[in-house]
């Protein structure tokens, strides 16, 4: 019965959009945080390299790369400086040209020192093989192996936030085939606008990137999921697709958080649901971020490795809202300076969106491949409110997009009841923050759930979770 329904709903996209004002959405839970897309109208501006750039060796899930340059060596922009040290690993390229001044640990966002290569910027001399002309190259190589090889060589990782090496994701395990490609352009996190600007300014390039990904996967269909709060991006992409006759389809998604969560997006677009601890490939789907698609275009068609990404610099108190194209390894303090410095009354600085981003303690930390935003939250809003007793209102259960019971999970975590945690699907949690957002008693639900997930893993109950792309929610 459900198979027939799925078949029908795939054949007739309009049928399943009947409800919900013509936009698709996931079926369980979700919340409606304030949109706050303050920077939506600021065009992307390129930030020229300057000073020093510190590039981390472990910017991706998997083994950190191994440095192949040493102190004193001169490097060009786009030059390979660290090699992938395994299959699940990614190459790292220099984002600037200049002299390597150190190959030693540098403090990251949370003040923990991580191995990195620091380069003193001298001019901006690019590698000759990189095609920097604005001309759009539309022919697509037919051999998927060539595409995947070029993607691997460019060090591309999932730019949604999980930083899983893309070439690994494009090679699904034997026996599984991803027939459907979904490009994640939901950008459901409040404040974030960098993907939005990419679609408006590099729409066609991103679409060609999507076609390349589709070719690499031999997928029969490709959808681009965009939340309905970006009507201009939807129109723009639809226009290009119509004019060029691309075999892509834009899907309008309802504005609802976490619409851009990988599992939620798959549910919204295909009505398939990834099994517990499964991969999207288990239901024949692959999800890639729109930023990744653009990087794939540049890597395959222009031979340009992943050395810069688009970052939103935003905040309610910030005088200027900025979207910038930033080279990897630029210190965050430079980004703050670009937007006029840290505004007075800032209580918390977050790297990423307000729902899933990481609070920063070290403003000198360099950007990485997956940095999507720098967000300044005023003091009053930043502070967590005092937790009181759980009133069992079930708002967390209602909000959980995975259909879990957060109130129960934290109770079981506090009592270390691992068997029951497993029975209640603790490991399905995607850490989207909906439970904490909706809790009227301000209980730090997600804090404890995260801890419980960690303990569940270490308690030898084998829980292997696929790191998900598509976290630029």
């Amino acid at each position: 019965m459900s198979n027939i329904y799925h078949l029908l709903s795939e054949r007739l996209p309009l049928l399943r959009r009947g409800l919900g004002g013509g936009a698709c959405s996931f079926s369980i839970g979700g919340i409606h945080p304030e949109d706050n897309k303050l920077a939506a109208n600021s065009p992307l501006q390129a930030l020229p390299p300057e000073g020093t750039a510190s590039i981390f060796l472990g910017q991706h899930i998997g083994a950190p790369a191994e440095a192949i340059v040493s102190k004193g060596e001169r490097v060009k922009t786009g030059q390979l400086i660290a090699k992938a040290s395994g299959w699940v690993s990614a190459d790292i390229h220099s984002s600037v040209s200049g002299t390597v001044v150190a190959v030693e640990p540098v403090a990251d966002l949370s003040g923990i020192r991580q191995p990195a290569i620091t380069i003193q910027v001298e001019g901006d001399e690019w590698l000759e093989t990189i095609d920097r002309s604005p001309e759009i190259i539309r022919e697509i190589p037919s051999d998927s192996a060539v595409i995947i090889k070029k993607i691997a060589a460019a060090g591309i990782v999932g730019l949604g936030g999980a930083a899983f090496p893309t070439h690994v994701k494009l090679s699904p395990p034997p026996g599984k085939k991803a027939g459907i490609l979904i490009i994640n352009a939901a950008e459901c996190e409040p404040f974030l606008t960098s993907d939005h600007r990419v679609m408006l300014e590099f729409g066609e390039q991103a679409l060609i990137g999507a076609l390349l990904l589709k070719q690499a996967l031999h997928a029969s269909k490709a959808f681009i999921g965009i939340e309905s709060n970006k009507p201009d991006a939807i129109r723009e992409l639809q226009k290009i697709i119509r004019e060029r006759g691309y075999e892509l389809q834009v899907v309008r998604l309802k504005k609802r958080y976490p619409q851009g969560g990988e599992k939620q997006l798959i549910d919204a677009v295909t009505h398939r649901r990834v099994p517990s601890m499964g991969l999207p490939a288990d239901v024949g789907v692959a999800v890639q971020n729109v930023g990744t698609a653009l990087a794939v275009y540049e890597a395959v068609q222009k031979h340009k490795p992943l050395i810069e990404n688009s970052i939103t610099i935003t905040g309610k108190n910030l005088p200027q809202q900025i979207n910038a194209l930033v080279r990897l390894g630029t210190p965050l303090s430079r980004l703050a300076a670009l937007a006029g410095g840290i505004p007075a009354g800032t209580g918390k600085i977050v790297c990423g969106g307000p729902m899933m981003g990481k609070a920063i303690v070290n403003m000198d930390a360099p950007t990485t491949k997956v940095t999507s935003a720098l967000l300044f939250i005023p003091h009053g809003e930043a502070q967590r409110r005092k937790a009181s007793n759980c009133i069992r209102c079930a708002k967390c259960v209602q909000a959980c997009p995975m259909g879990l019971e957060p109130y129960l999970l934290i109770k079981l975590t506090q009592r270390s009841r691992y068997d029951e945690l497993r029975a209640n699907r603790m490991s399905d949690c995607i850490e989207c923050g909906c439970c904490l957002y909706s809790c009227p008693a301000h209980i730090p639900l997600l804090d404890y759930i995260r801890m419980g997930k960690g303990e569940l893993k270490s308690s030898k109950l084998k829980v292997e979770n696929y790191p998900t792309d598509g976290h630029r929610l």
Binding site: S110, G111, I112, V361, Q383, R384, P444, D447, M451
Partner: protein, 286 residues
């Protein structure tokens, strides 16, 4: 009258039938159990703390009875004395072990370790440690949210309000190791209780280079190696920028503590830098 008789008869009959059924079920599913398990369990402290690595005292008793040797079977709460009795009960012998105690290897009191950020999440060391380096620049030091205090079943640990560090109550600590497991920064260590409760240890686990460590905390071990040179017994090793005193070798001469420039080496809980004194004279805590 008839009603009363009827009721009494019915209920009595019902009771008899059900009792018979219960008896039969109990007979049918009876399990034979070694009576020594009960004997051993009676010897154990009964705190069910899990310090032995088993689910509770009875689980340890079962393991003792079933196992051939006494290896890896040790109740830290009862200590050597109880284990001797247990071994005697099952007809084996066991070597005497020295009593242990939990020591806190961090001296970074609030006044010595200036905070550089403000943590606003759930009050749990483990959650904070998973999130970031901590409120101060020392990413190895105690975060002071009291995970150890909550883990201790014996009430032997409490967070001192003034220093923000846990304090071990010598009387109550049973060395069950629950706090050692609870601490995400691995600050707490089980060490030999020592004669008259005297212990010498490096109260710091900061693996940063000396200058970085010192900048973050005035009480940090800076791996200057003065202590290892002073030690006549070779008990002090310096690895990864941190000195460690091997308590199986240490003879408690306390020369190292006199040499330590930052006062990271402590004799018991005594530590004089807190009061701005030079860390030279030694004295015991009674």
């Amino acid at each position: 009258m008839q009603t009363i008789i009827l009721t009494v008869v019915t209920l009595t009959a019902l009771g008899a039938i059900l009792a018979a059924a219960l008896y039969m079920v109990a007979q049918r599913f009876r399990t034979e159990e070694d009576p020594r398990i009960d004997e051993v369990a009676a010897l154990l402290p009964g705190a069910n703390c899990g310090g032995c690595g088993f689910a509770g005292c009875r689980a340890l008793a079962e393991a003792v009875v079933k196992s051939e040797t006494m290896d890896n079977l040790y109740c830290p709460v009862g200590g050597s004395e109880v284990m001797q009795q247990v071994a005697a009960c099952v007809g084996r012998t066991v070597e005497a072990r020295e009593p242990m105690i939990a020591v806190v290897r961090c001296a970074g009191a609030c006044s010595l370790r200036p905070p550089t950020s403000l943590y606003d999440g759930a009050a749990s060391c483990r959650i904070e440690a998973a999130l970031y380096k901590g409120e101060t620049d020392c990413l190895y030091g105690c975060s002071g949210h009291g995970d150890c205090e909550r883990a201790c079943l014996f009430g032997a640990l409490r967070i001192d309000a003034a220093t923000g560090l846990p304090v071990v109550d010598e009387e109550k600590c049973t060395a069950c190791g629950a706090c050692v497991k609870a601490c995400p920064k691995r600050i707490i260590e089980l060490r030999k209780k020592g004669p008259k409760g005297c212990r010498v240890f490096v109260s710091c686990v900061n693996k940063d280079k000396g200058n970085v460590a010192r900048k973050a905390c005035k009480a940090a071990c800076i791996a200057c190696a003065k202590c290892s040179k002073a030690c006549a017994f070779g008990a002090i090793a310096i690895e990864e920028n941190i000195a460690y005193i091997d308590f199986t070798v240490c003879r408690l001469c306390r020369k190292c503590a006199a040499e330590c420039p930052t006062g990271a080496i402590r004799v018991n809980g005594e530590w004089r830098m807190e009061n701005g004194l030079a860390p030279s004279p030694l004295n015991f805590n009674p």
